[in-house]
Symmetry: C3
């Protein structure tokens, strides 16, 4: 595992005829060095209760070894075999709409004792059969674990115990959750009702937080088991996946990645993204930053698309550009899901490297080119990222927007998160993703952006306030600070008036309310949400243009010693947000020559293990382009050509440069 | 209770810190004189089975008394406490999709004996604790009661008993409902199937009528209990609510208000309406008329919005205009839902007078202005309305359109109802809302409009026919008279040929069929529904312009002695309906100088207790306006200025005049 | 049953007052000669368990006989009586979403023993009561039978037995269905899970095929029973209905008509279609061809609309044009659903010949004209159709597209089927509908079109290949041959490279990819689905115009000896498909003078019993039109006027000619 990991998921179990050696050879020829196996096929490994058969696992590890290919072994616990469901139907989760039926994966109650018993057994047997192999480099725990909506009786009992421990007595529970509303208050723990019928946002949010924690505990439990079998050089990973909107989109609602990552020694994730004309690289950047931020270290892209879904079939050059984008975000490895398109069942049209004909094809040939190039880029492995800007991600605030959506559900939390991130991305400002747990470590950033941080304890708000006192530049969107950690709306004047120098108590859904500011383009409008900001000490950057609300501010900026705190009180197009952020970035000294380039030219930076600076220049466009090179003299590791500062990069369509500054 | 009631719902139980005295003082300063309490918080009043605690009720009544504020006490029975659901899960309604879960309000079976037992006990205890207080002026029964979709076994048994009593033997049932269709006929009462699977419109409609009657019986039962505790000066009310389409919209499908009002001594209702640019006053008018029509007396607006939903945040001036609109429709009181925005649970973004910061704000200040003005308008309390036009509302016909929707569901009953009402409203023609039960009293109206009266017994059709013989002007929309009271399509030539002088047997969904008439604007078109009218004795006012259907009439008018009967055989834009109605109104002598003003200038009239005529002039527009005053010399009670007939009223944006004619 | 059957469904049971004799007289006067009775009214025939009452049946047969009207008796088994559901609730199908509720028709498990026992008894009793009557000409088995989504336990047990018999041991099952995917493989038959939760397309598809077979078996069982009571001159029929998309649209997903027809001696079907401006005759043609193709013989249209749904109310002339369209497609009879509009229940606004007023009306009068004309057309009864073109319909491929829909579900199988059929129809090319079972008999066609034949066994692909070798012209759409008969994606180079001379392995959802070809109109674009065809030996007719995919072909043509095989690799507008098909038809010598006429002028052809050629010329337009007559000298049987070849037909709006060539 010295170079950059490059490979794919491999399912010998799904193959329609014997091809193992041929596949290993084709991979080897394509420069692939790693496969991931076994995570979906429990019923093959244990065809009957207590009868084990690891022949697929063993022969694949062996064949891979012969071909010089490393293996990541996945525990197969996210898809139970039919006999287990038949024997223990209670394993299938009760989601509040009845018990799940057997068939699909990820429909079990991950707290079910019968499930845990059998899961532990198959994990141990699989580890015994595979962990010792020299080419097994690591283990993936389960697969895209979530809580699968379980609210079966035992889970609710565990939740009740959690509430008792959190609140001590019911009167505190009643008060914290506002249970007096609609006659929901309880006088004994026994009367706490089934959460699945509840309309109480605090209660439901706490239950969801509790369920996210079930995932943390589950992965930690698997990790303990697995670690007993591993050498020091073998890693424990998991493929975290993101909020799914037809592709990887943002913060995962059902898992707290920041908590769950403690079970791992190496973070992994799945990143799927739009393709063809819609390929922008934004998902590689934002999901990559979110993965990097978990341990503030490099991560594996354990799944990303080869040919993928029908409307993702890549244009020539895109597969390569995608791989380089992951590398530029700090990925230590890129693995396709999956090697061969599946001939049966359900994901038949989620295509792998090979099509159903199992022959070399355009995608295979481009992967082969990538395989070769990655070898030449091996010094860029474990690239350090060193952003001066961070975006704060909050599972609790995501939950808050779920409970109390913006009008018409037109925006969710991740839309606001991506709105801020992508605006930066398009201006070639790289941003770390940080979490509430990181709040002791804010001062290293020159700017922190806070999207829709609606749920936050006092401590977090205080930390953000202190950050500005210490000279940081805080940029908050609307709605921030509205609720405390139990989804109780704050009754102090909001939001953080001492920080932002404003107050407000009214808001509405604007019907095309124009915005007035010299910073904004003609035709700028508030949409979806607007707060009527009353500036106190803050400077007003943008006003609403409205017969009734013209006296209110839309965007303000407060100077606090060396620090600043900007508040964006309404949603607007990204084309309006960008010039606003530009003005803040200039204030903060974060605007430089590279900002002359803008999307579709994307510049990404890092520090190689050698300490040398690295700059990726990408062209997310079907057109050729010429672009000045803004950094110190460097060599393009891809083409081997040297570029002096100010030199001209000539892009192919979907082209890329990987420039290593001279030592 | 001498002046106009003005106040809000108040929830001490929901408050996040002690503020009772401060709140009472703030209300008092705002001219608020009444609060409504206790209707949502059974679990506070009875935290355990048989353990009662009315401390919130008692301290609020006391504090209100000190501040000179009256109290309406609501029985808390629409939201049961958790312990009750836990003990008697059968209380939760079985809706045909399984039993309801505990959590939200209004999900119980209101016929459940266990529910009724506990409801009666808490009502009696609450009355004992509150009714004697001098400042308790009345009691609200339950809250927005409906049948909540119950079709649990006992309800279906009661329904079967009803059918037996209605039809005597099954052969009459089979015939009345057409049960032979699709093999549904029964030969014994035992075989009458579960109504929840039925496709028989008559059966389902009768069940829904039966369920509406459950509400009537429930409120009557509560009324009997409550009245035992009340002084003569204390009223019994209930907040009827309307068909909800994002706001109060029309006739309530699940309650027959005309029947249910018998339980009350004073009608109350909830009226919520669009706001900001969409504020028209139409809801205050139509829902107000529907409330006034129940007892042909004044009513309370027990709930209306202060800040309300996110997209309702009022423009300056709108809160005041709204209050005056209710007054002009005959409201004796206006109460906001609610005093303070709630910090928890579910309706957190349905804001009250105060925002979550609980500080004075724009809405509070405008409410304070209203409070002061209402004092000066106290002689307008219990304004008598004396319309010469009425619109007939029919729960049974609403049900009929639900069972057999217009093509594509593009219109429902209330759409047709509002289409007629709002056309009148915009032309400043006030209309009473009347009900089938009022049909002995039709002759006092010069014109009666009948929207989509698809279900009607012979007696009602006869009464409408007699009305025209007696000189009235009857205006019917399409579809009227189609079904009898059991949803049997009439097999006589339709509709009422002897009244309207027409026949038809065919209808269709028009695809943009132009209408020809000198009365209509260019481009007039039939849409959604058209009947091919064959004029017999009637005059044709509008023809269809169509290659196949040009021989059919769209709108006809029949003279019958002194009376007239117009039939509008198709749906069209309101801009087409208005000139048609204008021609009818002119025929009927109902068109006068005030009709020179049209929406957004709205004129509303009444007779003060003193016998003096009152005229409200409203400007539902963000623009200033000048408007001649059309009535006899009067004084504007708001500004204290006198206006002679023909004088010029100068409107502020969203401005209003309340003009009392000189004695 | 000598002439063309003409009549309607008649429900004495539903009539609101005694009208039997009057109705028979009105029918007789309208030239109606046949009614269909009894199929919906089991509860009338057997009001209690074992108590029979056929008075409605007997009196209607008798009254019909007096009026010279024939009767088709329907077995009433598709709608069970309430007492049967009450006694045997297990009869109601368990659909995987719980057991069906009593109320609607067609919700039973057609394999339930209790159902079959009672069904057999009522069938036998009904046959005893009716079959001997001289004017009973045939029996309809059940009504629009389907499997009603049953997946109750006994059905799944039968399915398991089917799997055992099909696969012998579980390892073959695992392999055929790819059960290893997501850990679904089984090691014993007992572990085969409930199909209702499955995500395995092969498993679900096989279950659906099995369920279609339940219908075949059920009709065969009824047929056996009924035949015991029939004279030789009495037919056994059934009204097959089509995939419903607001009207009859295409191949029925839930029944394999080709298999099920074996139970019948005369095929019947229901054909409902859009009307008014949307009447094109395409449904009469395509559904008619699908019915004709079942036995390659004439069929009855047992149901079609009179006035029908609200937006179907026919224009003058349309009812007649519709009847002639059915005749021209090979129908031996046309029967309306239904005589009188129903006054109750559910289909009240699906109107019959008579409206609810039960008086003669426009529709009745036009039906009377048709009745008279059909008498003069009696020599056109049982017209032979002799198309040189066929379209292959495949239930299995329909299922395939259901399991793996085109992107966004924008096209289903029948959309592709209709796309091909309707393009031919509009160019006046008549096409037979053929089925996989017909593949021994392909060579009689000059051209065979294959829409989206995604699921096909090798034998079918081989037969299609052989057809081209034998000189046929095969035209395939995209996706053909993708799966084998068990929904396993083929891993050979696809599709049929030896036949089409192409290969492809990639496809995508095109975002407006232009098509380049001299054959296509300006602006031609691929949409929904495109395959990147790599021509090997084939000629490329159409290329994609795309920066990345310009090297791939969209449409190709391969010459194979005398035969040809064209492949259309993408979806495009019908206006693009038509010129492509035109070029193929010209190649195949199928383009002649009649192709100068195009929709809305439609020409249909057949051979009368006498051997004389017959040509129908139709005008599907509200405008008059003049049209040359292209065939040999003939007489228009409708107007009695003679036309020489080249003579001018002068069309009324929605007009028609029925031209019999001179003997």
């Amino acid at each position: 595992m010295k170079g950059i990991l490059f490979g794919c998921a491999y399912y010998d179990e799904y193959m329609v005829y014997e091809r193992l050696e041929k596949d290993m050879q084709m991979m080897n020829e394509a420069g692939m060095n790693t496969i991931r196996i076994a995570e979906s096929t429990w019923s093959c490994h244990e065809p009957q209760d207590g009868v084990f058969d690891f022949s697929h696992v063993e022969r694949v590890i062996e064949a891979a070894d012969k071909a010089g290919i490393s293996v990541i072994v996945g525990t197969p616990t996210y898809a139970i075999p039919p006999w287990l469901a038949a024997k223990h139907p209670e394993i299938l989760a009760d989601t509040g709409h009845g018990r799940e039926k057997y068939g699909r994966r990820q429909n079990m109650d991950i707290t079910s004792p019968a499930y845990l018993y059998h899961a532990e057994r198959i994990i141990r047997k699989l580890m015994e059969a595979s962990a010792k192999a020299p080419n097994v480099i690591g283990v993936q725990l389960d697969n895209e674990t979530k809580h699968y909506g379980t609210c079966s009786a035992n889970v609710q009992k565990m939740f009740l115990a959690h509430l008792k421990s959190e609140f001590g007595d019911v009167s505190r529970l009643n008060k914290a959750f506002g249970f007096n509303y609609w006659s929901n208050s309880v006088s004994s723990w026994e009367d706490v009702p089934d959460v699945t019928g509840s309309i109480n946002a605090s209660f439901v949010a706490e239950f969801n937080k509790f369920r996210r924690n079930l995932v943390t505990e589950f992965l930690s439990w698997q990790s303990q088991i697995v670690k007993g079998y591993l050498r020091d050089d073998q890693f424990v990973t998991h493929n975290f996946d993101y909020h799914w909107k037809g592709n990887s989109y943002g913060i995962q609602p059902d898992v707290n990645h920041k908590h769950a990552q403690k079970a791992l020694t190496l973070v992994g994730c799945d990143i799927y993204h739009p393709s063809q004309d819609l390929l922008t690289g934004a998902e590689a950047a934002v999901c990559g930053a979110a993965a990097y931020g978990l341990k503030k270290r490099n991560y594996l892209v354990l799944e990303t698309q080869a040919q993928g879904l029908t409307n993702w079939t890549p244009y020539p050059g895109q597969l390569r550009l995608q791989a380089l984008s992951h590398l530029a975000s700090g990925a230590s490895g890129i693995m396709y899901w999956h090697w061969h398109s599946i001939h049966h069942s359900n994901e038949t049209f989620w295509k792998g490297v090979l099509s159903h004909d199992l022959e070399p094809n355009e995608t295979y040939w481009e992967a082969s080119q990538i395989g070769k190039e990655l070898e030449s880029l091996s010094q860029l492995k474990d690239l350090k990222k060193a952003s001066q800007v961070a975006i704060l991600a909050s599972n609790e605030s995501l939950e808050g927007i779920e409970r109390f959506p913006f009008p018409g559900g037109k925006l969710d939390y991740n839309d606001v998160f991506r709105w801020m991130h992508d605006s930066l991305y398009e201006m070639n400002i790289e941003a770390d993703v940080i979490f509430p747990e990181d709040c002791e470590d804010l001062d290293k950033y020159k700017m922190i952006l806070v999207p829709a941080l609606c749920c936050a304890p006092d401590s977090l708000l205080d930390a953000l306030g202190a950050y500005t006192s210490n000279g940081g530049f805080l940029v908050s969107s609307f709605k921030s600070g509205f609720f405390n950690e139990y989804m109780e709306a704050r009754h102090e004047i909001m939001p953080l008036p001492h920080v932002f120098g404003i107050a407000y108590d009214a808001f509405t859904e604007p019907r095309e309310v124009p915005l007035i500011s010299p910073l904004l383009p003609e035709g700028a409008k508030a949409s979806v949400w607007m707060e009527m900001l009353r500036p106190e000490s803050a400077e007003v950057l943008v006003w609403y243009n409205h017969p009734s609300w013209g006296k209110y501010a839309a965007v303000t900026k407060e100077k606090r010693g060396n620090g600043s705190a900007a508040y964006i009180g309404c949603y607007m197009d990204k084309d309006c947000l960008k010039p606003l952020l530009e003005s803040f970035l200039k204030d903060a000294g974060l605007w430089g020559e590279p900002q002359n380039a803008q999307f579709p030219i994307i510049i990404r930076n890092g520090i190689a293990q050698s300490g040398q600076a690295v700059h990726f220049y990408f062209n997310f466009s079907p057109d050729s382009a010429k672009q000045p090179y803004y950094h110190e003299d460097a060599v393009d590791l891809l083409a081997g050509k040297e570029y002096a500062k100010g030199g001209l990069l000539e892009f192919e369509p979907w082209g890329a440069f990987a420039l290593l500054e001279k030592a």
